[in-house]
């Protein structure tokens, strides 16, 4: 579904009316609804209900705050297939404030945001990308003369729900990686009293964002989430359990370097440090850039970017297990373990030799006809 940007969605008109005005065919709208229903795990049979719910929607307000971030999430979400998120959020949903996407700047932009928030208090959706710096009173990230934390607290106040978009917004991502110089934290560490959904990933897949918004519009609430606050429809399964290379994992066929025979044959990337076995994400199914491909599909091991604090917890990206520091050089745990086991074997051998020598010496010292037998006294002495 392609929606031209030329016709902005006006307050007061429903989505159905708006689509008609823009000349979107009924067919492509239904296609879009079917796709969303499938991604949401509702099944294609639910498409008419989704369509019905979406059609009658009045224009909702979305405020998009960009905090301490790289804009990668916006870039990624703009690459939703149909409609592109630019379309969905700019035209279908309409974005009242987004630093990257809006045309307004300076005081006008700030005023637009304040107006939208005041007018739709308690109803608007707040999308947040980026982390909040907490050190030095948050002076590492300021917009319009105020810290981003103040902006966030103010915008969250009147929000109906918050979509924390990307690893930064929930866990602080790379900024929060050790040693975390700015004291970066996620939205949930600041805002405690609003429903927050965690669209995890660095960046997340655009379609997942779209589907979450569609869910919100269709059902009036955020989708069901897992332990980490991620929507279950998208993050309910491990990459490893949906992976196209899984047959090679089970067969015992592994890539050992990026240019070997196994790599050419598309074998499993387990030994290259793939974090698929510890990562929940819809990448293998939904894929990226209009379903073109995804990292493991392209031959790169998963780095686990949808998992908590992945820069610290999933490192090193090209080793299966975390490094064990504190042994001078960083060693694989197997090297350490095997050395200890060899050490134990050597210790046992040395001790056994000494015991035998000791016994021989003792027997020689006790050279009596009875020696070597197990008389009570002999046993008692050892």
């Amino acid at each position: 579904m392609f929606v031209r940007n030329a016709e902005p969605w006006m307050d007061g008109s429903s989505l159905g009316e708006h689509l008609e005005e823009t000349g979107v065919s009924r067919r492509s709208f239904l296609e879009f609804c079917t796709e969303m229903a499938v991604i949401l795990g509702l099944g294609s049979a639910a498409a008419p209900s989704v369509a019905k719910a979406l059609e009658s929607q009045a224009r909702p307000t979305v405020i998009w705050l960009e905090m301490q971030e790289c804009t990668g999430c916006v870039e990624s979400t703009l690459r939703t297939e149909a409609p592109t998120i630019g379309n969905l959020l700019l035209d279908v949903v309409s974005l009242d404030y987004s630093e990257t996407l809006m045309a307004a700047a300076g005081h006008a932009a700030e005023k637009a945001k304040a107006d939208a928030m005041a007018k739709n208090k308690g109803k608007y959706v707040l999308v947040v990308t980026g982390s909040v710096p907490t050190k030095e009173d948050g002076m590492y990230c300021t917009v319009a003369g105020r810290t981003i934390r103040q902006h966030l607290e103010e915008a969250a106040e009147g929000a109906a729900a918050i979509i924390a978009l990307g690893a930064c917004a929930h866990w602080g991502s790379v900024q929060a990686a050790r040693p975390n110089p700015t004291g970066a934290v996620g939205v949930r560490d600041i805002i405690k009293n609003k429903p927050i959904v965690n669209i995890a990933g660095c960046p997340p897949i655009g379609d997942v964002v779209t589907a979450t918004v569609v869910h919100f519009l269709t059902f009036g609430r955020l989708p069901a989430v897992d332990r980490e606050g991620r929507p279950l429809f998208a993050y309910g399964n491990r990459i490893h359990d949906q992976c196209s290379r899984r047959a090679h994992f089970d067969a015992g066929q592994y890539v050992e370097s990026f240019d070997d025979e196994g790599a050419r044959k598309g074998w499993c990337l387990y030994e290259m440090g793939c974090k698929g076995p510890a990562t929940y994400s819809p990448c293998p199914i939904v894929q990226w850039n209009q379903r073109t491909n995804w990292p493991i599909g392209a031959g790169h091991p998963c780095i686990g970017c949808t998992e908590p604090y992945f820069w610290d917890t999933m490192a090193p990206f090209y080793n299966r297990l975390p490094n064990v520091s504190g042994f001078g050089v960083e060693h694989r745990i197997d090297t350490i373990g095997a050395s200890l086991a060899v050490g134990a074997a050597a210790g046992v051998a040395a001790h056994a030799t000494m015991t035998v020598m000791h016994q021989i010496r003792r027997r020689k010292a006790h050279q009596t006809p009875d020696s070597g037998s197990t008389s009570g006294e002999e046993r008692n002495n050892g």
């Binding site: 089970d250 134990a344 000791h358």
Partner: protein, 264 residues
């Protein structure tokens, strides 16, 4: 290990062994390990060997299958064996935990923690005699010496950690499922799934070291002290001489003809 020998309850002898004569001249047969404990021991031996061998392959697949994926199931088989042995060791663990409460005085849970001052002194004496080879200075025990007991207690806890970390990883394939619900609290506690994996992998190396030292010391004790401990894990007990004195046992507590006495 029990500290005081005076107020020990009479040792229980199961009916199927109660008829065997226990006193041969100066020697009395002392029943130490109940059948469930011995079965548990050997079941654990086989599952731990399986778990270590298959675990090492899962951690580092050191050989591979060529050809088409459809004609191989190498890792699949290793993982299957790992999970099967895991299920078996869990059963053994359940039996052992039950036996901690109904077993005899050498098997009950207080025996796992020889931490009285006297026991700790004995730990030191045993250690000293291991290092100095002064066997005559070594205190004697019918059951385990407290140092050995501490090692076994450690292995119990390590195995418990393997089970918890193992099932926490196992549960990842089915979020919200049985194992994930029971063991899902672990990854956030230790700092992520990778940390769980690392702990599971690291603790593997405890087993080779433990087995080496454990088997060595058991054989050494038998050949140097002629104590009969090795066969006790098969037969359940050992003979002790009335001339010997033990830290954890008093021969005069034993009924002289236990097979005639009412057992239990």
């Amino acid at each position: 290990m029990t500290p005081a020998t005076e107020s020990r309850p009479r040792r229980e002898i199961p009916w199927f062994e109660a008829r065997v004569p226990r006193v041969h001249g100066d020697f009395t047969w002392v029943y130490l390990w109940g059948a469930p404990l011995r079965v548990m021991h050997w079941v654990s031996v086989f599952s731990i060997i399986t778990l270590v061998v298959t675990g090492l392959y899962i951690g580092q697949p050191y050989f591979m299958a060529g050809g088409e994926a459809s004609s191989h199931f190498l890792m699949g088989r290793f993982r299957f064996a790992h999970f099967l042995a895991a299920a078996i060791i869990v059963m053994a663990a359940i039996v052992r935990v039950y036996w901690l409460f109904v077993g005899n005085v050498y098997e009950r849970w207080p025996a796992l923690f020889p931490v009285t001052p006297r026991n700790l002194r004995n730990v030191w004496l045993v250690l000293k005699s291991y290092f100095t080879m002064r066997l005559e200075k070594q205190p004697h025990f019918v059951g385990h010496n407290p140092l050995a007991q501490l090692a076994y207690t450690t292995i119990y806890f390590v195995t418990a950690a393997m089970i918890v970390t193992g099932f926490s990883m196992y549960g990842q394939a089915a979020p919200g499922g049985f194992f994930d619900t029971i063991f899902g609290w672990l990854p956030p506690l230790v700092g992520g799934l990778q940390r769980v994996r690392l702990i599971h992998h690291t603790l593997l190396w405890v087993y080779p070291m433990f087995v080496l030292i454990h088997v060595y010391l058991a054989i050494r004790a038998d050949s140097v002290e002629h104590a009969g401990g090795v066969s006790s894990i098969l037969t359940g007990g050992r003979f002790v001489s009335s001339h010997d004195t033990f830290e954890d046992f008093n021969i005069h507590d034993q009924p002289s003809e236990p097979w005639k006495s009412k057992h239990h």
